[in-house]
Symmetry: C2
Subunit: 185 residues, 2 copies
Amino acid sequence: MGGFLKQNESLDEAAVRVLNKLTGLENVYLEQIQAYSEVDRDPVERTISVSYFALINKEEHDFELTRKYDAHWFNFDNLPTTIFDHPKMIRRALRRLRRKAITYPLGFELLPEKFTMKQLQNLYECILNQKLDKRNFINKVNFLNILIKLDEKDKSTSKKGAFLYKFDETQYKKKSREGYNLKIP
Amino acid sequence: MGGFLKQNESLDEAAVRVLNKLTGLENVYLEQIQAYSEVDRDPVERTISVSYFALINKEEHDFELTRKYDAHWFNFDNLPTTIFDHPKMIRRALRRLRRKAITYPLGFELLPEKFTMKQLQNLYECILNQKLDKRNFINKVNFLNILIKLDEKDKSTSKKGAFLYKFDETQYKKKSREGYNLKIP
DNA sequence: TTAAAAAATGTAAAGTTTACACATATTGAG
DNA sequence: CTCAATATGTGTAAACTTTACATTTTTTAA
């Protein structure tokens, strides 16, 4: 989705505004990717676009709004054809997201407050578009020290139930500053 | 150094133009970092800046031009105070350069056609601002397979002389596309 | 002939990553 | 009450990578 920058706002603010207008979402993680400025990229008039990616929990958005603005969700492996240099933007955003995922924690933005290891693993498998080994994944994540294991279980997906975790906010923020390397090939 | 974007050029082209105007350099490696757009960043008028970093072989620039435009060179650990959000831009650029250095080859842009291992190591030590172990560095670099060892020696720095290398252009380009991880802590 | 100076070279130990399979807990059905 | 079904939870050995580290080689100028 796109929009135009106003006089009294920064690009970050504009990105927040446009996203909110079309989804109703607030407090979303947004990150600038880069500026696209080829002279003829928009055949009608000179346009410079600055792209962002957002981490959204899709279930939380306002379905009314997306309907109203005729916005749609697509899987990365089933994208519609897009105009101008937008395909390039999308590819670049995905590359950035993947790099981000293996070097900084980004779960807060996308998981419910309490979640199972399986859910966390699913998230990474989606982002990276590859299957991960359960045991190795858990070991890597535990090593990061950003999760707190709760006494509760989620029984919605199995009879045994799976322990719930939440993020250790202090550690999470620390790792967000420092970064790490999850070393997923 | 900064400048203004013209109607008939892209940001990349503007960056090339400005750099050339102030240094006379051509065919320089330039990479966009990002757009800075806070409403009040320039107290005089609304300005959006897009920052770039360039890889320059300093010896090759036109000294007349830098003198004419009163441009100066600074070490990263001895920077002058700069206006607006430029300190942030500089920090970000350095972070990007370091990441780049350990994940993509960037020697072509900064070394003479033929160079010694020592020179290559010096380059990395400067960029990363840390001493590297000679043997480990050589092993890592050789593993990348991007160098061709020549039969010539450079005798300017020792009586024994040090073998000269050049980049294997095909391999170099391949690695530039694929990336790698030099795993320097 | 020797001294000086930088270049070239290899390995063992420590640490990390990978691949891989079975036991456990729970409950719904019979 | 028992059993079947199902997803969860757990550990290790082998392969690989990284690290730390010291001596020999080559050349020439004195």
